[in-house]
Amino acid sequence: MASLKELKDRIGSVKSTQKITKAKQMVAAAKLRRAQAAAEAARPYAERLSGVMASLASKVSGDSAPLLLRGTGSDKRHLLVVVNTDKGLCGGLNANIVKAAKAKARELIADGKDVTFYLVGKKGRAPIKRDYADKIEKHFDTSDVRQPGFEEADAIAEDLLERFEKGEFDVAHLVYPIFQSALAQDPTVDQLIPVPSPEGEGTGGHAVVEYEPGEEEILEDLLPRYVKTQLFGALLEREASEQGASMTAMDNATRNAGDLINKLTIQYNRSRQAAITTELVEIIAGAEAL
């Protein structure tokens, strides 16, 4: 049986933990709203861009298509771009992203492909390093900026495209969480390079569109932008997912701490009463002995 003092200290420490988790939850809730708004604001650009891509890609095909669209012709070396968060305290989010990435890696390795990792965000490093220490190509650090924006997406895309042009990999996949709700963030694997030809509705596919300078030149200009937009979208989704997951996790933690405090308080009161009773019994026994 723990002493009264010990119990009291324990209650105090759980209380201060609860304060922290509660504060973090409220911060996450406020940030989530902002992150969601940012993700929504970015949608029109991505939609327009893929619409234009669809209409262009259907016109340019075969050997004249740029390298980014048609690929290097082989699919031996795969690069997994894994987008993790920089901060913890967000429940199982990072574990789920890493799990999805590892599953994809295993699948590719089983098919006899080479897999390398390109990690964005701090929290994916340790768990992936544990299994694939020699396969990690690069860490991209986003922890020193407060809110990752287009500049970061730009920098990542430039780096990836450079590596692609040097022929360091054939296919790149993007692993990132898609924000469904504060309760659900699904890790997703999308092909990033070569750019998968968008399907379906080409905007104004029936009209004769004039191109300046030409279809291919525009497409060549457009494809890197498309990759950039994908990465930017992934960063925004990550931001929203992180805050959502964090909010839920911290809500749970706050509630658990509350339960624990209740339990400990009951235990504390019981021991206190027991101590009082023992004291009384001792006094009475002493008085009777006289």
Binding site: V52, T203, V209
Partner: protein, 85 residues
């Protein structure tokens, strides 16, 4: 009837309005777009997009960097990576 003009960046939808004419700095020279322009697509160079709200009015200039312009049935859409001002 007027030209529907949209200016979009990755971060947000900057403009969405009906205007008289827009002059876009295309990669191969500036071009003006009026209502009913034929479908057209062009990359743009860094420069100023001039928006004429009404005929003969003084243009409003918006500096854009990197992107392209598309003219379709539903007007002119300029996708730019950066917009200043």
């Amino acid at each position: 009837m007027a030209l529907h003009f949209e200016l979009v960046t990755p971060a947000k939808l900057v403009r969405s309005e009906d205007v008289h004419m827009v002059v876009v700095p295309g990669a191969e020279g500036e071009f003006g777009v009026l209502e009913g322009h034929a479908p057209f697509m062009s990359t743009i160079r860094d420069g100023a997009v001039q928006v004429y709200k009404t005929e003969g009015a003084a243009p409003e200039t918006i500096e854009v960097r990197g992107g392209f312009a598309e003219v379709g049935e539903n007007g002119l859409t300029v996708l730019a990576e950066h917009v200043e001002g």
